[in-house]
Amino acid sequence: MIPLSWYLIFAAALFSIGLFGVLARKNAIAILMGIELMLNSVNINLVAFWRYLSPEMITGQVFAIIVFAVAAAEVAVGLALIISVYRRKSTIVAEDIDMLKF
């Protein structure tokens, strides 16, 4: 049987890689991809804890579902913002989007 620790280490590694993507990538879409990786690692943790610690309650799965909804909402609004910024500034490089910096 797979011990719980394996899932946790897997999720931690995925989260760290996602964080690297968020911090190091220039392109705004690539940053969103990093966020997706991080959300997925959270989901692995939630479901693993549900399976190992409280399989008789459904809380972990419901949490994962809420994370799905949040991820979908985040991607929808995030990508819409990227499209909008692209139309005004014709760039989606995160460093160049500094209209608020005065």
């Binding site: 049987m1 797979i2 011990p3 719980l4 620790s5 394996w6 946790l8 280490i9 897997f10 931690a12 995925l14 989260f15 760290s16 890689i17 996602g18 964080l19 690297f20 993507g21 911090l23 190091a24 990538r25 220039k26 392109n27 879409i29 690539a30 969103l32 991809m33 990093g34 997706e36 990786l37 997925n40 692995i44 479901v47 549900w50 399976r51 610690l53 399989p55 008789e56 459904i58 799965q61 419901v62 994962a64 579902i65 809420i66 799905f68 909804a69 949040v70 991820a71 979908a72 909402a73 985040e74 929808a76 609004v77 990508l79 819409a80 990227i82 499209i83 909008s84 692209y86 460093e95």
Partner: protein, 169 residues
């Protein structure tokens, strides 16, 4: 090593390799395709955790909708997302150090925790998690409120995204 463990290690290795490709590829469409591989790996992990419904939801929502939306956006903003440009910013080594530190810290903390090597409890075969889920989502003393609020959140996101992305006539 049981076969299940080997399958898990294989899936985890492929997913992590794919994740590294996602954050390093220059070509964004390739990065998106690697992202799909990672998402699929996570779906397989859900299956290994006996969460079949979540695995299917993962494929339908993430691969079928979110990844496709991302590829569309990449193609819409194609003019600046050239494959030849440097895709990592100048502080990428700092980001790498932070990520490594975070990973090390989390692992350290996890090893302090005594439940870390927790082994798998048996599922009660008479309880179907899917039925439980369906019931829990609409019963007032379980998760009715989060469920409805998730719906409101999604509609709000829809309205907001349409407002932002629409072309002004």
């Amino acid at each position: 090593m049981t076969p299940l463990q080997i399958i898990f290690l294989l899936v985890a290795a492929i997913s992590l390799g794919g994740a590294v490709m996602v954050v390093t590829r220059q070509n964004l469409v390739h990065a998106a395709l690697w992202l799909i591989l990672v998402l699929f790996g996570v779906a397989v992990t859900f299956v290994l955790l006996n969460a079949g419904f979540l695995a299917m939801a993962q494929v339908v929502i993430y691969i079928g909708a979110i990844a496709i939306l991302m590829i569309f956006t990449i193609m819409l903003t194609r003019k600046v997302a050239k494959d030849t440009d440097e895709q990592l910013n100048s502080n990428w080594w700092g980001a790498g150090i932070i990520s490594l530190l975070l990973f090390g810290g989390v692992i350290l903390m996890l090893f302090q925790w005594q439940n870390f090597q927790f082994n798998l409890p048996n599922l009660n075969p008479s309880v179907d998690p899917l039925l439980q889920l369906g019931e829990g989502l609409v019963s007032p003393n379980a998760f009715l409120l989060p469920f409805e609020i998730a719906s409101v959140l999604l509609v709000a996101a829809l309205i907001g995204a349409i407002m932002v992305a629409r072309e002004r006539k």
